[in-house]
């Protein structure tokens, strides 16, 4: 298969190339179609990869942190905080923990209540943030222990937040992959149509070739070569444009959301380079199918 595809690019082994009139608008349309599809495919690929990274990041970050909320009458609050800290000290799987102070509480509530909130006068619960080790902790065991030693303490391991976020990121990744498939299918369809139009426009040429003894393979090769090369060139240009456009997107930062993380990182930049050869393969098979279909109607 690889040898067949490679041979398409060697003019010395392709005398078939000259037997088809040099150019037609359908061939140029193929270049444009392949370029547009590759451009879109780069974004779909970027979306898919960014979603994957996001899912991993959310999953990883949320999975390793947890919060303990202590809601107790003011006179019992400090006692319960101490009891929780003692319990955490002897709980395996916890890397670090700390009590959030009033400034941090104010910062958390700032988006809802503004900067002038008198935190000290409000009956706010105490919050303890903890980070798990890579081995993780026994959340159920800790809950039971807290219930016994600090009845006002509630452990939130973020599961109910994490699951939908990770699911959403997973769906986005799936959508990216699905988009790639759809783009590939649409490209195959469009190239098939362009090849069919080209074959129909060259009906007389094909009949003449059959008359002088040309085999189907020889005739199909002429069209396969033409459309494969155009598919490759168009997709190459579209991919480069798409990569440039992705590179020009705003850089990811903490303030930015998902969109600023849309792009490729590190070796990930090599993935879009798979698209042009893939487009060439799609063009090759789409043209072969169209040529074989058309040739069946000519003896």
């Amino acid at each position: 298969m690889i040898r067949v595809v490679l041979s398409l690019f060697r003019s010395d082994v392709n005398p078939a190339d000259r037997v088809v009139p040099p150019s037609s608008y359908t061939a140029n349309l193929t270049v444009l179609t392949a370029a547009a599809m590759a451009f879109l495919a780069v974004f779909a690929l970027a979306l898919s990869m960014a979603s994957g990274r996001l899912a991993d990041r959310w999953s990883d970050a949320l999975a390793r942190t947890a919060t303990i909320r202590i809601s107790a009458p003011p006179e019992q609050a400090d006692t319960q905080v101490q009891a929780v800290l003692e319990a955490l000290k002897t709980t395996p799987g916890i890397a670090s923990y700390r009590v959030l102070d009033d400034d941090e509480m104010k910062k958390l509530l700032n988006p809802w209540f503004g900067p002038d909130l008198p935190v000290e006068t409000l009956p706010l619960p105490k919050l303890i943030e903890l980070t798990e080790t890579s081995g993780g902790m026994d959340a159920e065991g800790l809950r039971m222990r807290l219930a016994a030693e600090a009845p006002g303490a509630v452990l939130d391991d973020h599961t109910r937040w994490r699951r939908p976020l990770v699911e959403a990121a997973g769906r986005l990744r799936l959508l990216g992959g699905l988009s790639l498939l759809l783009i590939g299918g649409a490209m195959a369809g469009m190239i098939t149509l362009a090849a069919q139009a080209s074959l129909a426009a060259n009906g007389q040429v094909i009949r003449t070739l059959r008359l002088v003894g040309a085999r189907d393979t020889f005739i199909a090769r002429a069209f396969e070569r033409r459309f494969t090369i155009r598919g490759l060139l168009g997709a190459g240009a579209g991919t480069l444009l798409g990569m440039a456009a992705v590179a020009m997107l705003p850089r990811a930062n903490e303030a930015g959301g998902f969109l600023t993380g849309l792009g490729f990182t590190g070796w990930g930049w090599l993935w879009p380079l798979v698209l042009p050869p893939l487009a060439a393969v799609v063009s090759f098979w789409a043209t072969r199918a169209a040529a074989r279909h058309m040739l069946r109607g000519i003896r």
Binding site: P15, R18, V19, P21, P22, Q204, V205, R207, T208, L209, R210, L211, V212, G213, A214, R215, D216, T217, F218, L295, R299
Partner: protein
């Protein structure tokens, strides 16, 4: 070589040709006559597997035409040179490349010396780099003949090869075909030009076949 046994070919339920039996032996020369629309072109198409018979048997070089795959048909056509009535060419290629086309599609080496010789033989040396649309009717017929014999085929089928030519040019083309026959090629010429047939019979032993009433008859005696 080419054999037809009780062949009929029809369209839409009606027979265009029926009960045709013929065996073309190597080195023979046949004329095929009949009024316009009698089925001469259809008969020739049967001989190079462009059409399949409705009934009967057609053998091409020992192969049953019904059992031939598409590649078999292509290979068989490399052994049969066809001069079409309307001389189909690839209009974007020069005459020389059109003439060499049977070799190109067969993946065979084109000997430039032989190609030039053939082009000279049909009197198209000055037109070898011209494109087919730039040729006159007679030049196209000669280019078609040159293409038909490029691979040195065993059989040459010519469909009204002198249809667009004046008498002088017709004789020239006929002499080319006669010369090929003397070289051992089997030749079948479909024509309704009786003068051409008479002229040929002065040079060569030719059988004349006539299609009439949808059937093939031997009609040499009355010419």
């Amino acid at each position: 070589m080419i054999e037809l046994q009780n062949v009929a070919v029809g369209y839409g339920g009606a027979d265009l040709l029926a009960e045709m039996t013929l065996k073309l032996v190597p080195g023979s020369f046949h004329f095929l006559t009949g009024p316009s629309g009698a089925g001469k072109t259809t008969f020739l198409k049967l001989c190079y597997a462009e059409l399949l018979p409705s009934t009967g048997f057609i053998g091409l070089f020992g192969q049953d035409v019904r059992l031939m795959g598409r590649d078999d048909i292509a290979r068989t056509r490399q052994r049969i040179g066809v001069v079409h009535q309307d001389c189909q060419f690839l209009d974007h290629l020069p005459v020389a490349e059109n003439i060499a086309l049977p070799l190109t599609v067969a993946g065979r080496h084109v000997d430039i010396g032989e190609l030039k010789e053939l082009i000279s033989w049909v009197g198209l040396r000055a037109q070898s780099t011209a494109l087919p649309p730039q040729l006159s009717g007679g030049e196209r017929q000669r280019a078609a003949l040159a293409r038909a014999v490029m691979t040195s085929p065993e059989v040459i089928l010519a469909d009204e090869p002198t249809g667009n030519l004046d008498w002088e040019m017709s004789l020239r083309l006929l002499s080319l075909l006669v010369e090929l026959n003397k070289m051992g090629k089997t030749v079948v010429i479909a024509t309704h030009d009786l003068n051409l047939i008479r002229q040929a019979k002065t040079q060569i032993s030719a059988r004349v076949l006539r299609i009439a009433g949808r059937r093939l008859h031997l009609a040499g005696a009355d010419l």
